[in-house]
């Protein structure tokens, strides 16, 4: 008797929860009696008023430009965005248009959240390669902009210490870079030679630091097969990277416990900073003309930086993929790309758009970053295993920084990544 009562309550609750879950949907494609078809769009930009306003402007212009479709947007804070998408995907409530963080594109494409974009090759060809999200050679997402990392420095400081100012054609070599750090540290004017942003968490680690590993000749995974990290993440080059990385902290050239805000360089506590173009405005405010954006060092196999920022995609469950595609093509107008760049400071995805901006046109203040992106950007491995790779690399890099044995830490990361790949049937590779 009691058992059936409790059972009844539980099933009633589950059923009502399910019903509630389904009824509150509101997917796209609802036609308001003959009016335009509604296309839902989700963006992560709720916490960034300028970006959101620009998205809104594109949407308004698109809605005014034609009568067949009406795009409506919903904005989420970045921290909760991926969870919202996953939740919606599980319950079948994804909107038509989604913005996606670059490294997540292959994962979502593999999971069949995303549909191939099928944009004209000419349109995709104009974009910076790192703004195009691919999985197995199919384009699933395109971005309006990319970010790039460089070394922030001050001309006066380098000249005073007789350090050569590197150029994009002749960046610092490993020896030069290391000597520069030691010199700057030994001069005693600074607590640390280099501000790396070690206080950042999560994706910052693989984004900012795996390119250093790649410049040494290692990698996060064997990109030719995408099925193992063995020999790439724990090979001799990777071990060399790990030893150098660890030595940055044991030699006190860099601080392993930085605060989350990147102020060490701005406050003169560190001589150099490894930072993205989004920090450029603050640095310019602090140092004006003395500020330099130096290319990433060549640690052996050429300078490397991370690529891929937020990108736009169309979901598989979207009933009006044509409409969504029309919106995407409309939004790739150089005028909008330039506006995004002006508003949020990132690198516009096309040359045409860059020419329309104050900062990234030839001769502009931040032109260097757009050159770094074009020449040195390497996307994070486009595989659904990336979330695991990202987490394993972050842990290995942090452990090594904190003094763990280099080879063992890298081996552990490799074992974890390979275990994940094999237990998922090689993710379709």
């Amino acid at each position: 008797m009691r058992r059936t009562l409790i059972g009844g309550i539980i099933s009633a609750v589950t059923v009502s929860a399910l019903v509630a879950g389904c009824s509150s949907s509101g997917g796209s494609g609802e036609t308001a009696s003959g009016g335009p078809k509604t296309i839902k769009l989700w963006t992560h930009a709720a916490g960034n008023p300028e970006e959101l306003a620009t998205v809104q402007k594109v949407i308004n212009d698109f809605n005014a430009s034609q009568k067949a479709y009406k795009v409506v947007h919903e904005a989420f804070p970045q921290g909760a965005y991926n969870d919202a998408v996953t939740g919606a995907a599980v319950s079948g409530k994804l909107p038509c248009l989604l913005d996606v963080d670059g490294p997540a594109v292959p994962n979502w494409a593999w999971a069949k959240y995303l549909a191939p974009l099928d944009l004209p090759a000419a349109t995709v060809g104009k974009l910076l390669p790192s703004t195009v999200g691919r999985y197995k050679d199919t384009v699933y997402a395109v971005g309006y902009f990319d970010a790039a990392i460089g070394l922030y420095a001050r001309r006066s400081v380098l000249t005073k210490n007789d350090i050569r100012i590197p150029t994009i054609d002749r960046p610092w070599t490993l020896a030069e870079f290391d000597d520069a750090l030691v010199t700057l540290k030994n001069k005693g004017d600074y607590d640390y030679a280099l501000d790396l942003g070690t206080g950042g968490g999560g994706e910052w680690w693989p984004y900012a630091f795996s390119p250093l590993l790649e410049s040494f000749g290692g990698d996060l995974i064997d990109r030719s097969s995408m099925t193992t990290a063995e020999g790439r993440l724990n090979g001799p080059e990777a071990v060399k990277w790990g030893q150098w990385w660890q030595s940055l902290f044991t030699r006190k050239l860099a601080n392993s416990r930085e605060a989350t805000d990147r102020v060490a360089f701005l406050k003169g506590e560190a001589a150099l900073a490894w930072n993205g173009n989004w920090g450029a405005a603050d640095a310019q405010k602090a140092y004006g003309d003395d500020l330099l954006f130096l290319p990433p060092p060549d640690l052996g196999k050429g300078p490397k930086i991370g690529g891929a920022s937020w990108q736009w995609s169309i979901t598989n469950s979207c009933p009006d993929q044509d409409g969504a595609r029309k919106y995407l093509e409309f939004s790739l107008n150089p005028r909008y790309l330039a506006e995004f760049s002006d508003k949020i400071g990132l690198i516009p995805a096309t040359e045409e758009a860059a020419a329309l901006t104050e900062k990234y046109r030839t001769g502009g203040d931040l032109r260097a970053f757009s050159d770094f992106s074009r020449k040195f950007a390497l996307v994070r491995p486009p595989t659904p295993a990336y979330p695991k790779i990202s987490s394993a690399f972050e842990k290995a890099a942090q452990d090594i920084m904190n003094g763990a044995p280099v080879k063992t830490s890298l081996d552990t990361a490799v074992d974890q990544i390979d275990g994940d790949i094999s237990s998922n049937g090689n993710y379709g590779f």
Partner: protein, 364 residues
């Protein structure tokens, strides 16, 4: 737990003449009606997730996947709990022991060691015992979680009682002190954690203070960056944040003790210490149970501080079971494995609660 205790007390207090069959039936119907909201909520937020976690933990379910979850038997538990011991011998004249990776690498032909990593090693001369685990971070998380509870439960409970005794006096302005002690409780743990991150920095408040006090001879300690100090630092902060809440609970308990008992004790010639031992302490029993149980549960669920302050580092010194489950389940998207961690943890916490219940019951 307290609710059930109280309910039982009330049931025994019921006057005997209120019996009668009909009356009892109406009573039980009313009781069912009254408990329905709580039962529904418990079912929805406790029973359903537990059942889900249980079923997920035997699958390879992923957060994001194109393939439906497949049952994998006890594979998740094998990986989670699997431990094996490798005895190594240093060959005469060899500089070091043979690399463990020759055994743990996939396809190396030692199935009991493959895909395991070193948990710890014990050396004695030319012999080395290597303890390998499928998920060493889980064992470290378990150690940290219980260490945290072992320290925080008595310290926070005891300190809460001490503060409650202090602020239970009839003095002018005592409310101000009560408010001050209670303030951290109403502040969000995330905010508190961010603030303490600054306080613990090498150039933060604590180091500067110690530097000033010792006239500059203090070597700044990186409290959260040092594997030896990181967990104690988080313990200290957590106690500081949580102690106000338990002070209030103790205070409520203290104020239920009838003053007549103290008066009687005074007449009997008891001194203050005897009053505390023979009146206050026994009268606080229900409060004690509540405080013990709530601190234990909160301590075992340690997550927010770790997520904000250390992300489990340095070198796994502060990783906890809940943090590990979240990391595996969400960040690495292995929901099935995360569910297995949660399930093992659920069983452990249940065990702790049962032991605690028994201990507290026996004393009565």
């Amino acid at each position: 737990m307290v609710v059930t205790t109280r309910a039982r007390d009330r049931a025994t207090e019921r006057p005997a003449h209120a019996g009668g069959r009909n009356r009892r039936r109406t009573d039980s119907r009313t009781a069912a009606l009254m408990t329905a909201p709580a039962v529904v909520l418990l079912a929805l937020f406790i029973a359903v997730p537990v059942v889900l976690a249980f079923s997920l933990s035997f699958t390879n379910s992923r957060l994001i996947s194109r393939d439906p979850a497949r049952p994998v038997g006890a594979q998740n538990f094998d990986r989670l709990l699997g431990v094996s011991i490798l005895e190594q011998h240093k060959a005469p004249g060899a500089a070091d022991f043979p690399p463990v990776r020759d055994y743990t690498k996939r396809g190396s032909g030692h199935p009991q060691y493959e895909e395991k990593s070193v948990l710890f090693t014990v050396d004695s001369g030319d012999e080395r015992t290597v303890v390998l685990a499928g998920d060493p971070t889980f064992w470290k998380s378990l150690r940290n979680t219980f260490l945290f509870a072992l320290v925080v439960v008595p310290v926070q409970g005891g300190l809460g009682l001490a503060l409650a005794l202090l602020v239970n006096q009839r003095l002018r302005g005592i409310r101000i002190f009560r408010t001050i002690y209670f303030m951290p409780v109403v502040t969000s743990m995330v905010v508190v954690s961010i603030l303490w991150r600054f306080i613990y920095q090498p150039n933060g408040l604590i180091n500067s203070m110690l530097g000033t006090l010792t006239l500059g001879s203090w070597d700044a300690v990186d409290w959260l960056g040092n594997p030896h100090t990181a967990l104690p630092a988080i313990m200290l902060m957590s106690v500081w944040q949580g102690v106000g809440f338990h002070m209030v609970i103790w205070l409520a308990g203290l104020q239920t003790i009838p003053p007549s008992l103290y008066e009687a004790a005074a007449i009997d010639g008891a001194d203050r210490r005897q009053m505390f031992r023979l009146v206050t302490w026994p009268c606080l029993r229900p409060t004690r149970v509540f405080v013990m149980v709530t601190i234990t549960l909160a301590a075992l669920g340690l997550f927010t501080q770790i997520d904000v302050m250390t992300q489990g580092g340095p070198l796994d010194a502060t990783t906890t079971v809940v943090y590990h489950a979240v990391r595996k389940g969400f960040r690495e998207q292995q929901i099935g494995y995360g569910a297995a961690i949660s399930l093992v943890f659920f069983v452990l916490v249940l065990g702790v609660s049962l032991i605690q219940r028994r201990m507290l019951r026996e004393r009565s």
